[in-house]
Subunit: 159 residues, 2 copies
DNA sequence: GACTATCGTCTGCTCAGCAGATTAAATATC
DNA sequence: GATATTTAATCTGCTGAGCAGACGATAGTC
């Protein structure tokens, strides 16, 4: 679908793949509120344990005002909760409930399958290469999420 | 930025890269209406010469109702025109004006530079690999744009 | 000639991104 | 210690894009 002489449309490839990814992941995550978005948020909460709501939003590139009602829905669904941060009473720490962790663990597998199917044009080696390169490129190109990287680990404030 | 144990967040990488791509391309395409969108459309018109407005929209994954006012703006800017399709009076053939072709040609170079900068974390070989794999994956995963592929060439109706 | 499908347009709905204001709390300055 | 500045989260309102539905015009089919 690319083009005869066009200069390898990077934007098109990214957009097309992302569109398909969202669609397929949303299909396997119908139990979650917000579809693929809900999965990304909950997955980030479980796997990365970002320190605060703001850090979570920055990490996923989601607007903080959107994050507010997004978390409202995850809360209402009993998958994540907001806890007051003991070290900063303005901030909220987002934690997954037991059920939330359970759901994410289950979905990780099906999402992985969906992604493999999405990349079925490539053989396993190429898939791994694509993933690696994408991740490196994205990490490098992302606008300085320094704050996220710095505080990112767990709670671990600077010594 | 990825995660300690998360399963290689494909969606995150794609979204982050695409976001950055749009931003940088939009910055170099400020002269175009609709920023990066305008570039994609005009570029597709010039390089691929899709037969009709509908084919153009399908190719770029843009809704046809959006395409309508998008082309309105490109028309108003004197970069592209709608021509009646002689073989089907319902359809419109989209053609770039001389100025439109000129603008795209100029932008292709600067966009290529912006993309290289976007992928500056990767060395040239890796960039090429990423582009190739992305394009193959996207072409393979895209929902059957058959109609686009079939009619895609130029005008060339089936013999 | 009647039926159905397609192309482009228009209308209206919804959701996400974004800017701005607000409240509460932390931090810096005097 | 009082005050000013900054930051976290929420709320409000605006815009832009995707999407569904309807429409008029045309094409292909029986």
């Amino acid at each position: 679908m690319p083009s005869p002489d066009a200069p390898s449309p990077l934007g098109w490839s990214l957009a097309a793949l992302l569109r398909e990814w969202k669609q397929r992941v949303a299909a396997t995550c119908s139990e979650l509120p917000q579809g693929s978005r809900g999965y990304e948020v909950l997955s980030a909460v479980v796997h990365d344990e970002p320190p605060t709501q703001a850090a979570l939003a920055a990490r996923l590139g989601i607007d903080r005002t959107v994050m507010t009602y997004l978390l409202d829905e995850l809360d209402a669904a009993g998958l994540a909760r907001r806890q007051p941060d003991p070290s900063d009473r303005r901030a909220r720490r987002i934690v997954a409930t037991a059920r939330g962790r359970e759901v994410v663990t289950g979905l990780d597998a099906t999402v992985a399958r969906a992604e493999d199917e999405l990349l079925s044009t490539l053989d396993p080696d190429e898939r791994a290469t694509l993933r690696t390169l994408l991740e490196r490129a994205a990490s490098g190109a992302a606008p300085h999420d320094d704050r996220c990287a710095v505080v990112g680990g767990t709670i671990a404030p600077a010594p």
